[in-house]
Symmetry: C3
Subunit: 106 residues, 3 copies
């Protein structure tokens, strides 16, 4: 068994959890915060048989696509000091896969 | 040393934390959410010497018993569409045991 | 790659996250609760190349120093039943280092 820890943006979480449940892959969600941007994000714990770890990565690649977005000239408060429009990167995920020594469902 | 990640229902957490503290076994609690039912639950991080991992499992088995409960006819709002009384499963825990390469108390 | 889980007091977290970002070491913050004192604390997930794990420990040792503090006679509400002044231990950290089988940035 592997335990996968995936950190991704909040917006991509509902679609990912739905895709995992449909594939009958268990998951547990933890609210988290990015160390650099200090923005809220989500850490998912996903325990899966060794043979399905690659399938989980495929699902994450499909759902949490890293994409570029252009912030329009009339963007929100927070970026008013920048010369708009600017391009930012959103989406994506980072995934750590750990080896599980034993798994119990009590 | 092993790091055990136990996901269990909120109701069973106080009793488990008390039993672990009494056995002088360290633990850290993280609020979490189930991937399927989207209900709040709890993830416990439990670092323990290799020789005591089995003891932790025994404590969890004693405290977080998986049990059947009958929802009475006059149940809460949320299930009014079901033909009551129905039987649901509550309690239980899932436990991942990981091998710890090194542990420091700074 | 290693995944380091560091549990430390909330007060030491901003300085640690700043030091990690300055060293271009990624981190994710999880709000947590101590199993014994039931006080809020912080669990940091830090993924780092094998060769830099020791550097992370050095940074944590510098930032989260375990220190003694004397509670003055007119301390807060919570400890009014104790004979003041008393000495308490604050700061410090506990750190688990796990081996990462694979890491993906999607
Ligand atoms: N010191 C630095 N200088 C310049 N740019 C920096 C930087 N640290 C991070 N970034 C950039 O900022 C994005 C958000 O980082 P944040 O730490 O808030 O949010 C991160 C963090 O919560 C987590 N993460 C990334 N690497 C990690 C690691 N090695 N260990 C633990 N968590 C990590 O995943 C989130 C997304 O990471 P992602 O790489 O996609 O995206 C990162 C990266 O593109
Ligand atoms: N796709 C699906 N189809 C039908 N029934 C499903 C299902 N996924 C889960 N269930 C059922 O629903 C219960 C609650 O799942 P949930 O994901 O909300 O809450 C889960 C989740 O937070 C965590 N969990 C379970 N398996 C996991 C895994 N492989 N990886 C990570 N977390 C897991 O433990 C909690 C309790 O799991 P437990 O097995 O006792 O109980 C599960 C299981 O009996
Ligand atoms: N049964 C017991 N009897 C007497 N004193 C006890 C005790 N359990 C803990 N303590 C003391 O209380 C401090 C706070 O523990 P707490 O569990 O609230 O907060 C802990 C907990 O959140 C986490 N932690 C420590 N050991 C752990 C382990 N083995 N597994 C998981 N988390 C651990 O790190 C925090 C700080 O731990 P630290 O060792 O620096 O400091 C501990 C320790 O000095």
């Amino acid at each position: 068994m592997k335990l996968m820890l995936a950190v991704l943006e909040d917006d991509d979480v509902p679609a990912l959890m739905e895709a995992l449940a449909a594939a009958r892959i268990g998951a547990t969600k933890l609210a988290s915060t990015g160390g650099f941007l200090l923005q809220g994000n989500t850490t998912l714990l996903i325990g899966v048989e060794d043979t399905r770890a690659e399938e989980v990565l495929q699902i994450i690649r499909r759902v949490a696509v890293r994409r570029r977005m252009v912030l329009p000239t009339a963007a929100s408060e927070g970026v008013s000091h920048l010369n708009l429009p600017i391009e930012v990167e959103i989406g994506g995920a980072i995934v750590f896969t750990l080896d599980v020594e034993s798994f119990y469902r009590i």
